[in-house]
């Protein structure tokens, strides 16, 4: 009986000690980790909105550029980032989150359109679990760069905003290169990004018309 009690007490104090240490380390680093994640998002927002950020800029510098040039509002319960030109008044674009099921897991990214929502400014993916070297190449500029300037308007019924075709076979303006060796990821991106763009354009176009 005594032995058992000792075991319980021993484990209790051991757990108490180690969880306290771990909690301490966590508390000490919490702010930094939150900052890392926040700045990562800010960087991507600035990137798709084509607002230049110096290479290797500090987290504080990124946060400051963001504060000066971008305003965050909410549309249909989703964040919408409004970018302003350097004068601080002219709107230079809108960015919004896009997400969907990839080949292995969810893919989360951002897309940005020009002020009249007629063309894409850019697309970026920042959270995914696609195969490194294959599907994970959706994050590379070689892939995302193709979306810059993609026309969004007018869209024919039944037609998607863009198609991903085997590398080098795209004919029309909206036929972009898929990623060779990552057919599953390419198909998934084509499906969810078209859907998300439609969703967003539906939400924002009436607003723009009213303003314009």
């Amino acid at each position: 009986m005594k032995k058992r009690l000792f075991s319980i007490l021993y484990m209790f104090f051991l757990t108490l000690f180690f969880t306290s240490v771990v909690s301490g380390v966590k508390l000490y680093n919490e702010e930094r980790i939150a900052m890392n994640q926040q700045v990562k998002l800010l960087r991507v927002v600035l990137h798709v909105l084509r607002i230049p950020v110096q290479e290797g800029a500090s987290p504080q510098a990124v946060a400051q550029i963001f504060a000066e040039r971008v305003k965050e509002v909410e549309v249909r319960e989703r964040p919408l980032y409004i970018a302003y030109a350097e004068d601080g008044e002219t709107i230079s674009g809108y960015a919004f989150p896009v997400s969907g099921q990839g080949f292995w897991g969810p893919i989360i990214g951002l897309a940005a359109v020009d002020p009249s929502a007629a063309k894409l400014l850019g697309v970026a993916f920042f959270r995914h679990s696609e195969t490194p070297g294959l599907g994970a190449r959706i994050t590379e500029e070689r892939f995302t760069g193709q979306f810059k300037g993609l026309p969004l308007y007018p869209i024919e019924e039944e037609e998607k905003i863009f198609y991903l075709k085997a590398e080098g076979t795209g004919q029309a303006e909206n036929e972009l290169d898929a990623i060779t060796g990552a057919t599953g990821t390419s198909r998934a991106v084509e499906a969810f990004l078209n859907r998300e763009l439609d969703y967003f354009l539906e939400a924002i176009r009436p607003e723009l018309k009213r303003k314009g």
Binding site: Y10, M11, F18, K26, N29, N36, P132, G133, L134
Partner: protein
């Protein structure tokens, strides 16, 4: 009580004679998962070296007080605490690599090498040799992972640490990027080393 091991003997075992990956075939999960890029492998190795050495040291320090029946529970707690510390540190200071390693840092908790060494060595040996044993075993693990990464990254991406070394016309071997590539590499490596450098003990037995 067996005679205390010399530190050279401990290192010889960890790095070669009882190498955790090649001889004991432990820690294979992470060997397959993180060896397609050298940078990721280095961070994973650092994580394991810290976790294993510190866990062995702690388990050994507590060995006289830990009741036999609950020793596994205590070991898991100790290992998990160190792993979470590593995980938090990487997330705070190396966010990109933390993202790339995903859940694998957390999975060091279940790496059989860690508990294996705590059970097999640290709980019966004084702190210093236990610490050295943890260090030696994790260095043995690190050496194998690095060797595999040095084969996989050039063949799979054409690069070493991100620098292109393969000629321009080189077609990357897609399979080397994925887990099966590591599986074949590890198998061939173990086969090669076993064939050309037989285990000392096995050799003696055969005579």
């Amino acid at each position: 009580m067996p005679k205390a091991l010399k530190s050279t003997e401990i290192f010889a075992r960890g790095l070669w004679n009882d190498n955790p990956v090649l001889r004991q075939v432990l820690g294979i999960c992470s060997t397959l998962a993180v060896t397609n890029l050298i940078v990721n492998t280095l961070v994973m190795n650092a994580g394991l070296i810290f976790t294993l050495s510190m866990s062995c040291l702690t388990v050994s320090l507590l060995r006289k007080y830990t009741p036999m029946r609950i020793r596994m529970m205590a070991q898991t707690l100790i290992i998990a605490s160190y792993v979470i510390v590593v995980d938090i540190t990487i997330a705070a200071y190396l966010p990109d690599i933390s993202e790339a390693l995903g859940p694998y840092v957390g999975l060091i908790i279940t790496n059989c090498i860690v508990m294996g060494r705590c059970e097999a060595f640290a709980r019966n040996n004084p702190p210093w040799p236990s610490f050295l044993d943890g260090l030696a075993m994790s260095l043995g693990y690190a050496a194998v992972l690095l060797t595999i990464a040095l084969i996989r990254e050039p063949l799979g991406f054409g690069t070493v640490m991100g620098y292109r070394i393969m000629p321009a016309g080189f077609t990357p071997w897609t399979i080397m990027i994925m887990a099966p590539g590591a599986f074949f590499t590890l198998g061939l490596l173990a086969w090669f080393l076993k064939a050309y450098f037989p285990h000392v003990a096995e050799e003696k037995k055969e005579r």
